[in-house]
């Protein structure tokens, strides 16, 4: 079998990604002219940048988690995961700039804890000010994005190390151990950031009075499903273009299973958070769901549940649908959109409570990020071989079946 090891970016792909990025930049300019530097403007940037950053970062999480679990099955498409995770660099920089603009521009419509007068009069916000303050926010954001980038780059360079040099058994063992060490460092940092503090800091603090300890897990589940959907989409795209000869419906089946499982996991966390608040009926807690469950966001609330829970539950339940390229493509797009909606109601439900301001501006920015992900992933894919063919587990991945 002849193997196409190098991805050449098709012309149409390039045009599309550039066009989408153009739409994104245009949307930001038009949005700025329409709304100025308002809560509406910054909320849209916050939602989109954080969502897409955490989604591409989830690809690195997938990569490191399967490394730690000694999972070999994903090696045939590992380079796709790596390429997606390389998007953490540009999107991380953009998110960093947006977050700092919000914090140093004192946009207290987005983060109400930025308002000093409000905090000084408010016992609860005063109590949280050790965590919710500009210095901590800046330092923690820098560290988070910085270490995701650095550790991600390290993992990617480790993976590329073997490209031209087949490993002996001894070297292979050492190589696996080295991978394990770096992957665990990433996972620990991931647990300290995405799985706990970062969603509190970036998203939950838009509603500084309210808190939920489950919030970060729920956000993580959301982005992990998004990340898996993104991986599936790129795998299917490359497959359609005649690359990734060793990847087949067995690998797709497992990606589908992951999407299915983590959609249910997302629902579990979402529901646990909702049900406890609903049942206890304490006004400080229910305030979060007041406009989401019964107010103007009720439509999004149910749309969120339908796309992210009911659709995967019913569509991904059967074995055949997870092995079908069309169904997986359809569901991946739906889930990426569904979790984007989820983030939308997280951010806008707190910053603009009385109506849903969704319009083309939001979709335009989202298109910009999609274009950026396409561009960066395409560039990284074309730079390095598509197969990590000297990895000790590579054969396991080729003969993988479910």
């Amino acid at each position: 079998m002849s193997i196409k090891e190098h991805f050449e970016i098709p012309k149409r792909y390039k045009t599309w990604s550039l066009a989408l990025m153009g739409i994104g930049i245009l949307s930001i300019i038009v949005g700025f002219m329409m709304y100025g530097s308002t809560t509406r403007f910054w909320s849209a940037l916050l939602q989109n940048s954080v969502y897409f950053l955490l989604v591409v970062n989830a690809a690195m999480f997938f990569f490191c988690a399967s490394t730690l679990a000694m999972g070999g099955w994903q090696l045939v498409f590992r380079r796709v995961t790596e390429a997606i995770s390389a998007c953490v660099i540009p999107i991380g920089i953009i998110t960093f700039i947006i977050l700092l603009c919000i914090v140093f521009g004192k946009k207290d419509g987005v983060y109400d804890w930025l308002n000093k007068d409000l905090v000084s009069k408010d016992e609860i916000l005063k109590g949280k000010s050790a965590f919710l303050n500009t210095t901590f926010f800046t330092v923690w954001t820098t560290l988070s994005i910085g270490l995701w980038t650095v550790l991600g780059m390290k993992m990617r360079s480790l993976s590329r190390q073997t490209d031209n040099a087949p490993l002996s058994i001894e070297e292979g063992k050492k190589y696996i151990f080295k991978n394990t060490v770096w992957a665990s460092l990433y996972i620990v940092w991931f647990a300290l950031t995405v799985a706990s503090t970062v969603p509190w800091l970036w998203l939950m603090s838009t509603n500084a009075h309210w808190f939920s300890t489950m919030y970060s897990w729920y956000t993580f589940a959301s982005t992990f499903v998004g990340g898996l959907a993104l991986i599936s989409l790129f795998v299917i795209y490359l497959k359609n273009k005649g690359y990734l000869e060793y990847t087949n419906h067995e690998h797709l089946h497992d990606l589908g299973k992951f999407q299915f499982a983590f959609s249910i996991f997302w629902t579990y966390l979402w529901f646990s958070q909702f049900m406890l608040i609903w049942y206890a009926n304490i006004s400080e807690e229910t305030i979060y769901f007041k406009n989401r469950f019964a107010g103007p966001y009720a439509g999004l609330f149910y749309l969120n549940l339908t796309i992210n829970f009911l659709a995967p539950l019913l569509i991904y339940m059967s074995r055949n649908s997870k092995r079908n390229y069309t169904t997986v493509t359809f569901m991946s797009v739906a889930l990426l959109f569904g979790h984007w909606i989820d983030f939308y109601q997280m951010v806008f439900g707190s910053t603009i409570k009385d109506h849903v301001p969704m319009n083309l501006f939001d979709f335009g920015i989202a298109a910009g990020f999609v274009g950026l992900i396409m561009w960066q992933t395409g560039v990284v894919l074309s730079k390095y071989p598509l197969l990590a063919k000297n990895h000790p587990f590579f054969k396991e991945s080729i003969i993988h079946h479910t």
Binding site: F271, F274, M275, Y279, N281, R319, H401
Partner: protein, 196 residues
Amino acid sequence: MAIKKFAVGCFDDEAVLFSAIKKVRSSGYKIHDVYTPMAIHGLDKAMGLRDTALHTAGFIYGITGTTTALGGIGWVFTSDWPINFGGKPHFALPAWIPITFELTVLFASVGMVLTFCYLCQMAPFVKKHHFHLRATDDLFVMVIECTPKTNETEVINFLQSAGAKETNIQYAETGWWLGRYDKERKPFERKETALV
């Protein structure tokens, strides 16, 4: 059920077993079953077995559980014995979800276990013929059904050439009967010809 004649070949290597199955099938012998100490990926496909419908049964049991829970709780709390719990509506769906979920899982799992036991004809005191005791330990045992047209020696030779370490001809009951492995002798036992 009936007593039938079988040719048994024992393999000690998974890779040999797979190629043997391919050869046996392509030369037109009828594989009764293959007994292995552990689950082997892809064996069902190699043997040409159709996909099990167990998961469809599981789905049906699951939605039966969902309906039972929602129907039961719904009836009790809205019409049979409505109670005011902290001002919540009588039809308090979010509060019922955990129990609905549990009942779905319970129905699906118990139903699937029982269906699985039924399909495999397994139950306490239900006895089935074992073609080779080491099939639960370290041997892969392939059993070929002998039809009236089958030439025994030919099959045995064929199995040996395909890599079988041990071969014999057995008469065995294909169904189950009640009994105990430790005490009872096979009630149907006939001659057991060991070749080689």
